[in-house]
C-alpha cells in the first residue's frame, strides 16, 4: 500500500459530489489547510486529509506499508465518493443538511436501523428524496449518514411508522466491528 497525492481530476469529482449534496464550498471548508492524499486498498481508494507539512515526508516510511494518515475523509470507488465516519462530525459543523432524531430514534439508528417518521425531531422542508443527510441526536451530536426516502415537505403527511431515511453508516459500526 502506498500513499500518493490525489489526482486533481479525481479531487474535482469528489468536490462536485460533496458540494452538490451539501452546498457550495463544503469541500473547501472540510479541507481547511490540509492536503488530500490517496491510499489504495484493493479496488477502492481511500482519501485522507493530511497537514501540508506531511507531504514531503510520505516517502520517509520506506520498508513499511502505509495504512492511514491524518483524517480519513472517505472512499472513492468507481467514481463514487462515500464519506468515512471520521469526517462526519466536521461536516456536521458546516452543513444544514441534517436530520435530528429522538433518543429512541438515535438508539435504533446506531443499531444499524433506518429512521421512521416517529423518530424525526427536525428535517428541513427543502430537502429532497435521495439526498444524503447527517443524522444528529437532540444534543446535535453526529450519529451517521442516511439517504432520504422522501422529500422533506412530505414529512407531515407520513404515518408514524413510515420510512424517512435509510441508514448508510452510523457510529454503532465502531462497536459492531463493521
Amino acid at each position: 500500500m502506498t500513499a500518493d497525492l490525489m489526482d486533481p481530476n479525481d479531487w474535482a469529482d469528489v468536490t462536485n459530489q460533496i458540494d452538490g449534496e451539501f452546498g457550495d464550498g463544503t469541500t473547501k471548508a472540510l479541507l481547511g489547510g490540509q492536503a488530500p492524499i490517496i491510499i489504495q486498498r484493493g479496488e477502492s481508494n481511500t482519501i485522507y486529509l493530511i497537514p501540508m507539512d506531511w507531504i514531503g515526508r510520505i516517502e520517509e516510511y520506506e520498508g513499511y506499508n502505509i495504512r492511514s494518515m491524518g483524517v480519513q475523509m472517505g472512499d472513492l470507488s468507481k467514481g463514487r465518493f462515500r464519506f468515512s465516519l471520521q469526517i462526519l462530525p466536521a461536516l456536521a459543523k458546516i452543513t444544514d443538511r441534517v436530520l435530528v432524531v429522538s433518543q429512541k430514534g438515535a438508539e435504533t439508528f446506531t443499531y444499524g436501523r433506518s429512521i421512521i417518521k416517529e423518530s424525526v425531531v427536525r428535517l428541513g422542508s427543502a430537502m429532497k428524496k435521495g439526498q444524503r443527510v447527517l443524522v444528529l441526536n437532540e444534543r446535535l451530536e453526529c450519529l451517521g449518514l442516511a439517504a432520504l426516502s422522501i422529500d422533506g415537505d412530505r414529512l407531515g403527511r407520513l404515518a408514524k411508522e413510515k420510512l424517512v431515511a435509510k441508514n448508510l453508516v452510523d457510529i454503532g459500526a465502531y462497536v459492531r466491528g463493521a
Binding site: 520506506e62 513499511y64 506499508n65 471520521q86
Partner: protein, 326 residues
C-alpha cells in the same frame, strides 16, 4: 529456604491453585510465600474497569456528568487527570453513546499510566512501536492535542483494523499508521523525539483477566519473548533522537522480560539512562531479582502487581538518551 525445599513447596502450591510449577518457584524466590499466596488470591478477584476521558472530543466535567446521569459510578485515579475507575453496573462499558462518540476509551489503568509517563508534547514526533489496538496511540494523540505526528506501527493486519477504528472513533488527526516490523525502525526517515514500546510479551501480568495464563506459557516462552523484547528495545534505542525519551513497558511481571531486558540495554548503551517517573503509583522495579544484581537505577522503574495495587501486572520504565557532547 533451600532450593530443594522451595521446589517442593512450589509444586504443592502450583498443584493446589492450578499453576505451572516454574511460575510459583519464581514467585517464591521473588516475594516469599506470604506474598505469593496474596498474589494468587488477588488473581481470582476481578480487575476494576477503568476509562480514559478523550479530551480531543469532550471535557472531563461534561463526560463525568453525562455518565453519572446514566448511573455509572466514577472514581478518579489519583495520578491520572483523565483516568477514572468506572462501575457500569450490569451495562456494557462499550454500549453507551458516549463510547461510540469517542468520548471515552475503556483502558487498563497501567496502560493509560504508561502513556502519561511518556509525557508526549505538542508538535513532537512520537512512535508507538506496538500500537494495536490503539489505546496508547489515541492517548498519546490526546496528550499532544492532535498536533505533531504519532507514527503507529504494528505488524498484524487484523489488529491494525482495530487500531484504525479506534483512531477514527477518538477523532485522532495526527496519526500515521504503518504495517511492518518495528525492529526496522531505524530504517525509517524519522528520528522520533519519543518512543512508546509496550512490547508484545508473555502476558504473565494478565492472569486476573485470563486465568488460562496460569498454564499456557512455559519458561521457554518467557525466554522467547525476552529475546524479542530485547531486539525491539535495541531498535528503539537506535532510532530515538538524542535527548529523546522513551517508555519500555510490558504486561508481564517476569523480571526476565523487564528489568533484565532494560539492564542489557543499559550495559550496551552508555548513552541510555533510566529516569525518575514523576507520578506516584506502583512499586519500584527490582534491582536484585532472584539474587541477580542489576543496574541500581532500575529501582526508578515501576511495577503494578495485582496483590499490591489491584490491577493487572505491569512494568513501566522511562529511559532517556543523552545528547552527545560536542
Amino acid at each position: 529456604m533451600s532450593k530443594k525445599h522451595l521446589r517442593q513447596r512450589a509444586k504443592e502450591i502450583a498443584g493446589e491453585y492450578g499453576y505451572l510449577s516454574y511460575m510459583i518457584e519464581r514467585y517464591l524466590s521473588l516475594w516469599g510465600e506470604d506474598d505469593t499466596l496474596r498474589f494468587i488470591e488477588a488473581c481470582v478477584r476481578p480487575i476494576r474497569t477503568a476509562i480514559r476521558v478523550n479530551t480531543l472530543k469532550t471535557t472531563i466535567g461534561s463526560l463525568v456528568s453525562r455518565l453519572e446521569s446514566k448511573n455509572v459510578t466514577l472514581e478518579r485515579i489519583p495520578w491520572l487527570e483523565e483516568g477514572f475507575w468506572a462501575d457500569f453496573g450490569t451495562g456494557s462499558p462499550g454500549a453507551l453513546f458516549e463510547h461510540m462518540l469517542g468520548y471515552y476509551y475503556v483502558q487498563g489503568v497501567p496502560s493509560m499510566t504508561a502513556s502519561s509517563v511518556l509525557d508526549p508534547q505538542e508538535g513532537e514526533v512520537v512512535v508507538d512501536m506496538a500500537a494495536a489496538p490503539g489505546g496508547k496511540t489515541t492517548h498519546i494523540a490526546q496528550l499532544m492535542n492532535n498536533s505533531g505526528t504519532v507514527i503507529a506501527i504494528d505488524s498484524d493486519r487484523k489488529r491494525i483494523a482495530s487500531l484504525e477504528s479506534n483512531i477514527q472513533r477518538c477523532g485522532v488527526a495526527n496519526s500515521l499508521v504503518v504495517r511492518g516490523d518495528s525492529r526496522k525502525l531505524s530504517h525509517m526517515g524519522s528520528t522520533p523525539d519519543r518512543i512508546m514500546l509496550d512490547a508484545p510479551c508473555s502476558g504473565e501480568g494478565l492472569i486476573p483477566l485470563e486465568p488460562s495464563r496460569k498454564t499456557s506459557r512455559s519458561m521457554a516462552d518467557v525466554r522467547f519473548c525476552a529475546t524479542k523484547e530485547d531486539e525491539l528495545l535495541e531498535a528503539a534505542v537506535n532510532a530515538l533522537a538524542q535527548g529523546g525519551t522513551m517508555v519500555y513497558s510490558t504486561c508481564s511481571i517476569a523480571p526476565e522480560e523487564n528489568e533484565y531486558v532494560v539492564d542489557g540495554v543499559l550495559q550496551r548503551h552508555p548513552e541510555m539512562r533510566v529516569v525518575e517517573i514523576p507520578l506516584e503509583f506502583g512499586s519500584p522495579g527490582y534491582v536484585e531479582p532472584y539474587g541477580v544484581g542489576l543496574d541500581s537505577s532500575l529501582s526508578m522503574a515501576r511495577r503494578f502487581l495485582p496483590h499490591l495495587h489491584g490491577t493487572e501486572g505491569f512494568f513501566i520504565c522511562k529511559l532517556m538518551k543523552e545528547e552527545e557532547s560536542a
